[in-house]
Symmetry: C2
Subunit: 189 residues, 2 copies
DNA sequence: GATCTATTGTGAAACAATTCACAAAATACA
DNA sequence: TGTATTTTGTGAATTGTTTCACAATAGATC
């Protein structure tokens, strides 16, 4: 875009944080700018790409091809961030055979495919009841990171990272905030 | 389930936090237990339901019926949390006409329907390019809370709450953690 | 009913994150 | 080239959160 330098306050404005935050974070990771000259976009982008491992791609599988799993497997935005959905799985792959999309494999082929693609990160989008079982299988096959869309607290060894995403919680928190704001407002009437 | 009392450590174990955390949080909201007797499940559930507004339902709309919007509109788990998806919208409702699901309305009917159902919270699942415009429309129609699945920082008046959910970020953070753990481990070799 | 024990409730302490404030340095400009 | 100005980089101060530690007390036990 022809911009050669950015300043902490420029980035802060775009990101919705304070300039100090931007500078502290950069400083933490050894990113240096020029006093008075700001940060050079070109080298900044390169350094951030390295920090976020954007210089390498990651092969990821999705387990559970219900509505959410299908949406995730078709999510175009992952590609630009080095996230490759290499395969998807479901106990009943025929039920969810999707036109013009990544193939849905039966659970039996989990081992073969995680091995082939060197998968270490998986997305769990199965129903509550089978989440722990799927998780155990994945961990046994060498998966070390899990993004968990099921509403259960997965039990994993300490060397496995779990990130829980709960869509109901996300919406509920907004509903609560809105209600609180309204309550506060009505105090002035 | 026949359980009449629970203890802070029971709940903490299930939730993956410390017992102190549970007690501090309860204390913050005026929930009292009995020393030595723990918390009475029945009254505890009631109090939590009030705090989380689970005693009332909320009408919510989904704007943008791509893959993610469709998945969200079919997400069964919302119902049990007092979250009612009352309508969904898309610029091209015919493209996404889904069998046996909530009707997809054209954007022109946003006003009519938000008014009819008293909608104050909306989910934005439209492409990046149209997110701010949709957001402005919603705010003008009285929406005061937004769950934003698009990767843009929405500009809203201070009286509007925005919760950003970025699926790429969620997955990337796990990828990063896994890579860091591996790097640490290889130091011991 | 007296004593013992488990659990709460909460100040105080420790820890973590954010903001402030300003010296140091690079650029702009005369 | 010298001076003025802008922006970084970061210690110090502040603010926020989590953990500790223990008195208070309800319930269990004898």
């Amino acid at each position: 875009m022809g911009v050669t330098r950015v300043y902490s306050y420029t980035l802060a404005g775009k990101a919705g944080v304070t300039p100090e935050q931007v500078r502290k974070d950069f400083s933490e990771y050894g990113i240096k700018g020029n006093r008075r000259g700001g940060y050079l976009t070109e080298s900044l982008v390169r350094e951030i790409e390295v920090i976020f491992s954007r210089d390498r791609e990651s092969n990821v599988v999705v387990v559970g091809m219900g509505n959410l799993g299908q949406a995730l497997s078709r999510y175009e935005r992952f590609a630009g961030r080095g996230i490759n959905i290499v395969a998807t799985f479901d106990i009943d792959p025929y039920k969810h055979k999707s036109r013009s999309d990544i193939h849905v494999y039966p659970m039996e082929r989990l081992e073969e495919i995680t091995e082939r693609f060197g998968v270490t990160v998986a997305i769990i989008a199965v129903p509550e009841i089978s989440a722990q079982e799927v998780c155990d299988d994945l961990v046994n096959l060498g998966v070390r990171g899990i993004v968990n869309f099921s509403p259960v607290l997965l039990k994993v060894p300490q060397y496995v990272v779990v990130n829980n995403v709960n869509l109901s919680d996300e919406i509920e928190s907004v509903i609560l905030s809105v209600r609180r704001m309204k309550d506060e407002q009505s105090l002035f009437l």
